[in-house]
Amino acid sequence: MDATITQDAPTALTGFSREAVLDLSRRKGDPDWVRDARLAAWDHYETLPAPARTDEEWRRTDLRALKLDRLAPFAGLDQERVSLDALSQNGHAADRDGALAIGSADQRAGVVVQRDATTLSADVDPSLAAQGVIFCDLDTAVRDHADLVRRYFMTEAVPVGFGKYEALHAAFWQGGTFLYVPRNVSVELPFRSFAQAQEPGAAVFTHSLVVLEEGAEAFFVDAYSSPTQDKQSFASAVVELILRRDAKLRYVQVQDWGRHAWSFLTERATLADRAELKSLHVTLGSRFSKNSIGSHLRGEDTLAEMLGISFADGNQFFDHHTWQLHESPHATSDLEFKSALKGSARTVYSGLIKVSEGAQKTDAYQQNRNLVLSPTARADSIPNLEIAANDVRCTHGATISQVEEEHIFYLQARGIPRTEAQKLIVEGFFRPVIDRIPVEEIQGFLQAAIGRKVGM
């Protein structure tokens, strides 16, 4: 890869390289152990094979149009910090029409707003901080809570050697949010993280590291967005959700990158005994989105509810792979992913329920439904079961359907114009999933987002 050093330019290099790792690390002022970890990750990246289309997971994914060597590996370091008030008042992207709100102080437990590689603003409820709750960007966590970061960052949920793109992420992570909730602390209001990308032609790396200690409870809303630009960009997200015994987490992620972005997400949750995860993934933006989302049900009596809503239009390509990994007895996983498509969009869903030998009394459910709104859109759905225990209940179902003309006619016969009728039907398609998120703000956001997509 070419590595041209341009002095005084905000972005020093093009393409990913060892030099770029060192340049990023120096500019960020990483401690040595972070720099060394980045270099070790870079070595992993160089050693690991690129995903091949012979791999089942990558079979339907065409990466030829992704030009990593033309990208700036990082951008927008050292932007000025902005107060939250100013962010809200200036119609900041996080508060633009149709985006999730930053929320006022009484509507959140804390907030981190990042743009490109810089944190613009962050706060956390002081009474929570007094109880030991940590909510901050990863740089701050590296500085103030190095022991926790060293212990959890890409070690347990998504290890550095997980795959090639994860290794690249470990070498080049720039933004990132860290949430730590100590034992038996329960937080009802959401922690909100906003990751935005503004620099054209650059890569952006977002990272969410959530650690809930025994009996802790939290709600995390993770939003990615950028305006659509001409130059291709690359967005690499890693999400690590670590739930100790009896911990409960609600995690909502909204991906709304601009249509120039190639987005890669790797998310793994690990659940200890009796832990409960309720997650929702909303995929709206990007040109290309490859999402790998999995729950390791490591403890007994754990519960993972995994919901997904995606809506692809134009030439968008969304590829969702899910993993429900049952490793202990008496655990329940309940997955429902719904996708609508229009234009010449293409989606792939592939889900695996894997039950290990000792995981008796597993109750696993997996449902994927696709609503195809145009004759040029195409959805594929591939459900899989892999069961090594003999006393389990596993069910899965997949459907690909179109809007029925009889439904449209019925609504039209009641005076509702065709486009509105279609919107009503698409909202109805997603409604059962939306109703499973008992948070009015999120429900309202989803309904509006779906309405906009239908009308586009």
């Binding site: 005076g415 509105e420 409604r431």
Partner: protein
């Protein structure tokens, strides 16, 4: 509605209507006129084309009209989309109401009422008059009132459109929609089918309370039973895609006594 520009014309006029599905002609020249305030019953054996006529009047896209006309207040409505027809005041109560998962009754009704009423307000304004659009509060009050009229539980509004409804509930829901949309031309397709005697009474009372001097009604039914509850002014009998006999209410009784077989022998020859 705007019937001002067409003085003297009948309200609803079907003239020599031919319609096909695929290559199959189902309606073979139907003539029928409904004036304001009139209740017409359309009877006939299964397969005679009654439901096809209902669908064609409402604008179902599967049927192609090959000949003839449908005029509403003097306007040819054949080229109008189903929703445009509904906004002009035509209502079809479906024989088999469609189940639409995830769409709540309340949300659906509000959308339907908003579209139809707003169109009416705009039409009134265009004609130089004034009318009020409905506020959400007024809508809720009206919905409650009409639900009470049809003896429907409040919980109904939160359920998904026709999902898990019994036959009787579906038919009540159809009449509820009619009550909220206040059509000037109502076509009721086999609204009595699948109803027990109590439900039939509730539904019939609902229709009777809505019918009035400004509304035309076309009741499509296989049996005389419904006509004991809703009294028609005129009865038409359809066979093989045509109206073969017309008369007053006595015709329905005659038909009940003789049965369709006698008629079939007379008219099915061609």
């Amino acid at each position: 509605m705007s019937d001002t520009n067409t003085t003297g014309a009948p309200m609803f006029e079907i003239e020599n209507l031919h319609a096909s599905i695929g290559d199959k002609e189902i309606l073979k020249g139907v003539n029928l006129t409904v004036n304001k305030g009139e209740v017409h019953a359309l009877m006939g054996p299964n397969g005679s084309g009654k439901s096809t006529l209902a669908y064609v009047l409402a604008g179902h896209p599967s049927y192609e009209v090959t000949e003839g006309a449908i005029r509403f207040n003097g306007e040819d409505i054949l080229e109008l989309e189903p929703d445009e027809r509904a906004r002009r005041g035509i209502f079809l109560a479906f024989q088999y109401p469609t189940v639409i998962p995830g769409v709540s009754m309340a949300n659906f009704l509000r959308m339907a009422v908003t579209n139809v009423r707003n169109a009416r307000v705009e039409a009134a304004e265009a004609a130089g008059g004034t009318a009020q659009k409905m506020t959400p509060r007024e809508f809720r009050r009206l919905m409650k009132e009409k639900m009470a009229l049809l003896k429907m539980d409040d919980a109904f509004a939160t359920r998904y459109l026709n999902e898990g409804f019994s036959g009787g509930e579906k038919k009540r829901a159809e009449i509820l929609q009619m009550a909220l949309l206040e059509p000037t031309m109502a076509i009721l397709d086999e609204t009595d089918s699948g109803l027990d005697i109590d439900a039939l009474r509730v539904v019939s009372e609902g229709v009777n309370s809505l019918a009035g001097p400004d509304m035309g009604v076309l009741l499509i039914t296989h049996y005389q039973r419904l006509l004991n509850h809703i009294k028609p002014d005129f009865v038409h009998i359809m066979m093989a895609g045509r109206i073969v006999q017309e008369g007053g209410p006595e015709l329905a009784h005659e038909l009940e006594a003789k049965g369709y077989e006698t008629l079939r022998a007379e008219f099915a020859a061609d």
